[in-house]
Symmetry: C2
Subunit: 714 residues, 2 copies
């Protein structure tokens, strides 16, 4: 023992430097306080888990790793229950012991699980059961979560099945290692060293995803490079698929519509051209030879300069269906993005996706999902739900959220996205009357679709902490949890995450969860309050540039979106304006069409109003705007004060990092507030309401700032 | 104790995943075997070290961290020697105790050190003394090395001072995070999060460098971006300088000669223009306001498209001296690169640097160093020494080595560069008769220069293992050790490195050091034997392309360098050819001018010979060439076999990684050998010598391979 301790000390002092660098995510498995350790050991006296399949093996390994870490001792493996407190894991097929129990697992589906305290051979045990190995794996992670968050194990009865079928992370990773809109370093994928070198980090990535039920990964950027479909790269894709497979994760690829020309040597990529169709069929066959459980293709076509079927006067359906036909024999799907808008189209950008896709409802093959961003523009701090949700009942719509914070302060701002996701999922489309929530649209309930899915644009890179900050990990975590259950509570999720990632210390968890829950409204307030949107720096989207009116296209400039002048501000999308409101179900349209019935949060999204407009609060619009901007800064100051009080509750390394980032966030929130106010004042000439601090600098100063080499942009 | 152990187990099981990921470099500090621990504890009963300056603080911290780790217990701090076995660290100025000893430290200079077993107040102690804090810091690292490599501490008497003044790492890091010729991920510098967030990794970077005596860092790429000189970035530079300063490391910047135009708003960058001179003076003043100990500028001018003084019909001296005048008042230096060649100049590329710079000898300011690459072309597996060494007695010449393996297999090939560095440093220029080695040129002995230096192009990135493989760390280490002492033995350095990085287990160290020492000749053989050079893939330099004759310029194509045809091969640089030999001292020139006296290693560098040429061995040149190519592959097979025998001697994680990379290296060595032989055969139509395996594929096959998105290239 003494010698062992010695050795440990040695390893430790060497390891200290990176002991708390955030690498372990929410799978930290540090030993629980002594009191809890004793309690839980009584519920983990034996581990009975099969290990004949790769998934069974990683399930057993994870339970051993987790329990050994959390309980500070080795959990003995056993083949039969010989004492109270055994944990029995598996499926009826893999475990005769479980088969004997004849459990009702019908409604668990393929990847659901059942965790129950019961008796086996007279002994009290905890059983963890799925219909398939992956269900048991998910159940095992759930058991570990129960212990990590210190939930009792005496009378467990958990029955869970995911509400969505495809729970996917989209990596916007280029083959040269650059991550578009990535703020956590280079791509996780080391294409040069693949397929030979399988970085252990790939396995930890798979563990983290499996722990929250993510079952798909799109490896490359939607602005795709054709080379990913060449044999050189497909061998590398195969290698990654092999690492992810035991964890129930399928790989998908983003494909470039012009690939048949670029790497196929064809003259055209016309989806109705037989040679093109043949090329894609053979390419699909080639991929499935290498990756039998390949998930399918993600496609960004005729959007922001990407090639697509319209280059040949074909429809999006023509393009999607051609790829769907190539994948169908192998069970693959096409995730076709609805994020399209054209610079030749002078109509309100917010309307264009609906205009293009609504008429195509019912024209897609059965294995096509239409991937729709949560809002009509582009991942803003707040947008109303995308009008396509509820508008295409014959087409499976897949949600696309952004987990990386392209428009929300990059890596350093503490913005917990749980409430944003929750707000969108809970939004009522009224498509089939009250209660037609976005969640019910995407989970197939509303229109009876079996094929369902959700995608999150990953915030993961090679940075040691995976996501560029420890708090950004919460957004990865929350996305996975909401992908599993779109009606889960973002607050509950934050609570679990904080406990698993930092500590169960109540004095820490409560204020931190409150801070996280406050953070999203804060960023809306200091960046784009009252329905304003897209006021970020040109191209790189870092910092405020509400004054920007530069090219190459109007709908990439802030002035296009806020339409502010001497008299008023806001984008008139009512019936007197672009009439984007008409794209929503009548009840919703009627509400958004009427400024007095439009929630403050969306006011300037739908209406152009005079600065003197009376808000429900009785304030003028201008005074309310200034108040919101200021409140955003004050909220960050409060978050910072909260964190300052928590020094000592967690390790110094992660504490200091978050403290530093909160200081950055406060400075940048102030910058946003001041630059925006001084600019709008330059238009309306109005004074600040009494008691509000004037902007720190002149408009000229804010306009003079420039930021070359901002990350994530190219 | 039991509780402590419990806690440790918890931390450990969580830490396991990255316990042996290579992050700790050669500063691993894992607890020594029990036997040694007891012996060394007797020599570390107390630690007496001042802590009033930042450098003193990090010195003390490092000794505590190292000794606590290596000896598995806390070393007590003390103010006075009260027992045998004390370690006393400091300077006469910082420690009255050391002052009392009146040691002879004159010849230690600013950063040398003395380590000696002696008596203080009747107690046996080990003293670690420097004239300045940084000398004591270097001494402290040396003490740790003694323990790490298990050298006795009973009768130590070490007196060391560096032979070179500026020991610098050049980072070819761009401000967008891309590292030119980098194979270890993104840049270590997170410019977006600087100056606020100081990644703890910056400190570990400083520790690693200080441990081998590196005292300078050029933060950005020689293909410089002017933005690094804007206030936005200088604030970030200041923050990094603050982290490195306590470790005796100064920061330098690469500057773009056209910066006065790009960011200064001037119409010209003419070095003789008073406005331009003033702009640089004021820029230097601005930098020193922020970084009082700023090191100076590194400049790549009029080379590979970079702007420079010749754009204004001025000389390199005019350009360097203007910058030198701006830095001189602050004690800064200019490191002006001699790596120049022009596409308008049809003369042998190998001659151009000499032709341009030799006439400028004596025309540079006193604070200018001319930074000369080791060879006349560009970091090839083997080149003869650069003829500028010894040819410019009035100018301090600074060596530029490449630590990153641009032309030597990138991250995966195991190539220990110690022997390459050693070979160049030991080369005899004969400039002042026998013994005028390159080492004596750069350390100032030969021409009596006080200002001396050496630079290494770093192989460091954000990858967890810093250098893209654990064995690449040895090249960073060896560069530092040879920068400190250019006549040190690369084998001894490999021995220290292997012990500190892996284990002192003799059964491991001996074969690994043999393998490392073999590795450089292996890569020469399988890539470019007998003096061949620059046969790598166009632009990215990955893999063989000896057939490449594509644009944009001849001197970037392999055919320019090997000149092979039906009858023979090699670049005639003798008096019958480009006469590059004439740039060497007469004795050397005479030798290289005569094929029969030219070492095999340089034969085809200096001579174009018929395939049937008789080698000293009696073989034909062609047979010898095939033999060398084949031997290179066989050597890698042997390295791989050696490593296979060592499984179990070290941790599985690092073992498996090196084993995987060696397999990659063997495949790629075979590829190099086969592609080169099949190509040369297509020219000379000669059969392989008896018993040699034919190439695996056709020339067409090798020519068909293409590699988009190769790392490190843009």
């Amino acid at each position: 023992m003494a010698h062992c301790a010695l050795l440990l000390c040695g390893l430790l002092s060497a390891g200290m430097a990176h002991a708390e660098d955030g690498y372990d995510l929410w799978l930290r498995y540090h030993t629980l306080p002594a009191a809890q350790v004793d309690a839980y050991r009584a519920h983990a006296t034996q581990l009975i888990a099969p290990s004949s399949s790769p998934t069974q093996q990683v399930t057993r390994q994870e339970l051993q790793r987790g329990l050994d870490g959390l309980l500070g001792r080795t959990t003995p493996l056993a083949d039969a229950v010989t004492s109270d407190g055994a944990i029995v894991v598996g499926t009826a097929a893999s475990s005769p012991l479980i088969a004997r129990l004849r459990l009702d697992t019908k409604n668990l589906g393929h990847d659901g699980y059942l965790i129950r305290s019961t008796k086996v051979d007279g002994h009290a045990v905890t059983i963890v059961v799925g219909n398939d190995d992956v269900g048991a794996l998910y159940g095992a992670f759930r058991v570990l979560r129960l212990v990590q968050t210190m939930q009792p194990l005496d009378h467990v009865d958990v029955r869970e099945a995911p509400k969505l079928q495809l729970r996917v992370l989209d990596h916007w990773d280029n083959l040269n290692g650059h991550v578009e809109r990535g703020y956590a370093g280079n791509s996780l994928w080391n294409w040069q060293k693949l397929p030979d070198w399988l970085d252990p980090r790939y396995t930890d990535y798979a563990r983290a995803n499996a722990s929250i039920g993510i079952n798909g990964t799109v490896l490359n950027n939607v602005n795709a490079q054709a080379a990913i479909l060449t044999p050189l790269y497909l061998e590398k894709v195969k290698a990654l698929a092999g690492v992810l497979r035991p964890y129930g994760i399928r790989v998908y690829l983003s494909v470039k519509f012009s690939a048949p020309i670029e790497i196929g040597g064809l003259k055209t990529a016309d989806p109705l051209d037989p040679q093109v169709q043949r090329w894609w069929r053979e390419k699909a066959d080639e991929i499935y030879q290498l990756v039998p459980d390949f998930g399918g293709f993600l496609v960004k076509a005729n959007s922001e300069g990407q090639p697509g079927p319209q280059d040949y006067h074909r429809t999006h359906a023509d393009g999607a269906n051609m790829l769907a036909d190539a994948l169908a024999p192998h069970g693959g799907v096409v995730m076709w993005r609805a994020f399209v808008y054209s610079q030749d189209n002078t109509d309100d950008r917010a309307k264009q996706a609906y205009t293009e896709f609504k008429p195509l409802d019912g024209k897609f093959r059965a294995n096509v999902l239409l991937q729709v961003k949560n809002g009509p523009i582009d991942f803003q701090p707040r947008e109303p739900f995308n009008p396509l949700f509820g508008a295409m009942p014959k087409t499976p719509l897949m949600m696309e959220f952004q987990v990386t914070k392209e428009y929300l302060g990059f890596a350093t701002h503490l913005v917990y996205l749980g409430p944003l996701f929750e707000e969108v999922l809970a939004a009522d489309t009224m498509a089939q009357g009250k209660g037609s929530t976005v969640a019910k649209v995407i989970d197939g309930q509303l229109d009876h679709h079996a094929l369902t899915g959700i995608a999150g644009v990953a915030n993961i890179g090679a940075d040691r902490d995976w996501s560029g900050s420890d708090f950004n990990q919460a957004n990865w975590y929350a996305f996975g949890r909401l992908a599993w259950n779109p009606v889960a509570s973002s607050r509950d999720i934050a609570n679990d995450w904080a406990r698993m990632t930092f500590t169960n210390d109540e004095a820490f968890v409560k204020p931190v969860v409150d801070m996280m829950m406050l953070s999203r409204e804060a960023v809306v307030d200091y960046m784009t309050p009252l329905g304003l949107h897209h006021l970020m720096g040109h191209g790189h989207h870092y910092g405020p540039e509400p004054w920007d009116a530069s090219g190459p296209r109007a709908d990439w400039t802030p002035v296009y979106y806020h339409r502010a002048d001497h008299d008023g501000i806001g984008f008139d999308r009512s019936s007197t304006g672009s009439n984007a409101v008409a794209q929503y179900a009548p009840a919703v349209a009627a509400q958004f069409n009427d400024a007095s019935r439009t929630p403050d949060a969306f006011l300037l999204w739908f209406h152009h109003l005079p600065w003197t407009y009376r808000m429900p609060s009785g304030q003028s619009l201008w005074d309310a705007l200034v108040q919101h901007y200021t409140r955003g800064v004050d909220d960050v100051a409060q978050m910072r004060a909260t964190w300052a009080r928590l020094d000592g509750h967690i390790d110094a390394q992660r504490y200091r990092k978050a403290a530093t980032f909160l200081a950055v966030q406060q400075n940048e929130a102030q910058w946003w507030r001041d630059a925006s106010i001084v600019y709008f004042q330059s238009l309306n000439g109005l004074p600040l309401p009494a008691g509000y601090q004037p902007p720190a600098h002149s408009l000229k100063y804010y306009q003079s700032l420039s930021f070359p080499y901002v990350p994530g942009y190219q």
